[in-house]
């Protein structure tokens, strides 16, 4: 029995990277024509069957999308993912598809679960959540040829022009930019940013939107807090007596709630504080917040998986469209 042809064999034969082979298979429209032809030629010559599993599943289709559900860890932001799962279930149902949940505590465990479900014909596509740079799950899915879309960008070199895989995400920078412009107009020029410690892709992206909206003014105030209400409250309580602030734009609602509590304690209950995620907690406190629109994320996910049809296809539906970037919306309270 001969060893079956792998994506690495094709890449070597065509003189391209694994990634390029994957792109030719999954998103041919994003690969230059000459390269595409060379790779397709190698695929034919070697008899590489990238979507054997996907094809098998399409014939005895489960019409089911697997979604990983993290263990519940408390905190207020998990609600965005839960709303996404709600919306995905509703919209998938309208298109005759089902949603199956699975639990896993590590990426390796998640890969084993996806393999089991795919082997058993239980799912024919996957939605990845909580992606991170160098995510082994994405690599495994590409190798396996199992159609998938991630909620969260691949965090590669060029996610917009040449993404490693299909993805849907929310434009965090656009959200904080909206929030900052609103605060500048409604409150005054000194709009601070309260963010997490630097180094998280999501947090850095949200900070960028604030910086861009503030422009080249001197003396920008950037406060830092871990993702805890009490920590955010302390950070803002320490800053308020020293800084003259008109408003605070925050990287998340937990930070915003802490900032608001500090403002109330300092006798400034109406200091505008804007959060991110539009959680029920922010709503209950009457805080403005950037709404991620999980319903649009769910719609974008299905569009990438299905195109305009109802059958899961292992590539982008429309040429040139391998991602959906949802522009969030500021909810003013």
């Amino acid at each position: 029995m001969s060893r079956s042809v792998t994506i690495d064999d094709v890449a070597r034969a065509a003189g391209v990277s694994r990634q390029t082979v994957s792109n030719v298979v999954n998103s041919p429209q994003i690969v230059r024509e000459a390269t595409r032809e060379r790779v397709q030629d190698a695929i034919r010559r070697l008899g590489y069957a990238p979507h054997a599993s996907a094809r098998r599943l399409r014939t005895r289709r489960s019409s089911t999308i697997g979604v990983h559900l993290n263990p519940y860890t408390g905190g207020i932001s998990g609600v965005v993912l839960d709303r996404f799962v709600h919306a995905l279930t509703e919209r998938a149902g309208e298109r005759g598809l089902r949603v199956m949940l699975y639990a896993a505590r590590t990426p390796d465990e998640e890969i084993r679960r996806m393999a089991d479900l795919s082997d058993g014909g239980d799912i024919d596509a996957v939605v990845l959540t909580d992606t991170f740079p160098g995510d082994p799950r994405a690599e495994w899915l590409i190798e396996r040829g199992l159609p998938f879309v991630s909620f969260g960008r691949p965090w590669g070199a060029d996610d917009l022009g040449a993404p490693a895989h299909h993805w849907v995400d929310v434009d965090g920078a656009a959200g904080t930019a909206q929030a900052t412009r609103h605060a500048l107009q409604a409150a005054g020029p000194r709009v601070a940013f309260l963010g997490w410690p630097r180094g998280s892709a999501t947090g850095d992206d949200r900070e960028r939107g604030w910086r861009e909206a503030m422009g080249a003014v001197p003396g920008l105030v950037r406060l830092t807090s871990e993702e805890y209400v009490a920590n955010a409250r302390d950070a803002v309580a320490a800053a308020l007596p020293q800084q003259s602030l008109d408003a605070i734009v925050c990287a998340g609602d937990s930070l915003a709630i802490g900032a608001h509590l500090a403002a109330v304690a300092a006798g400034r209950p109406s200091l505008p504080v804007i959060g991110f995620d539009n959680t029920p907690a922010a709503e209950a406190l009457g805080l403005s917040s950037v709404e991620q629109l999980p319903e649009q994320v769910a719609a974008g996910t299905l569009d990438l998986l299905l195109g305009s049809g109802t059958s899961i296809v292992p590539r982008a539906a429309e040429p040139g469209r391998a991602h959906v970037l949802v522009t969030p919306r500021l909810v003013v309270r």
Copy 2:
């Protein structure tokens, strides 16, 4: 082709109610022996096959539990159901079972979805949520013979002694009683209750716990609010100048947040306010709240569906055990 035998035929033949037939089939241990024998005799005589569908599914088992997911409607309390789904997915996975979600906007639509999933062999059991008196879904499931457990009691005449079906629920009265005893001890004798307008089974149950813990003292203060933070804030703001209160026990966290905001505005930020559901919003504000322990609800659900095994069985695992009532836990902050 002869008409197939229905549950009504068996009930008539045995001279019992439909419900009793269903109990004999699903929870024989809760039916008196003489009655059980009479019904089992009629089942044999008429050739009634209550679990044809379940048996078929057990042979080509999907090992999948269907769970209905409501559309997301905002508000802070949906998080309890989401946590339940998280926990159910985790624990089901540990026992080799999967969880499939489906969406439906009305009970009739939900019945159609359950029928589709069951016909297609996609699920072999169901977890009902948001049960209400006279729920047509429960009736349909009993008739169909599809194993199920409800999160929420049947709200029948004797849910503990002779339940209409298997159920898991949280003992709301025990939760508010704990909260009330804590407030009496920590704050003082004048503990008010802030509840929803009367007539909701859940709300009335939670009020009962407060009344029982207060005992026969005169002048109990019972405030009412719709399930909105602003409404609760107004109700408590109106009451505070007129009543001398030591603490407020609330039917839910939205009410508690409103009560807390009113207390802060009235210059009493440390008035003890205790919520129910232990939502992230209450946690963020540092409010005490009764925790429903959705993880225990999920464990109870699987125990009733599976017993100690890993195969879904259409009856209670342990004789005499057709429900699980979880005692919630007060989280003091």
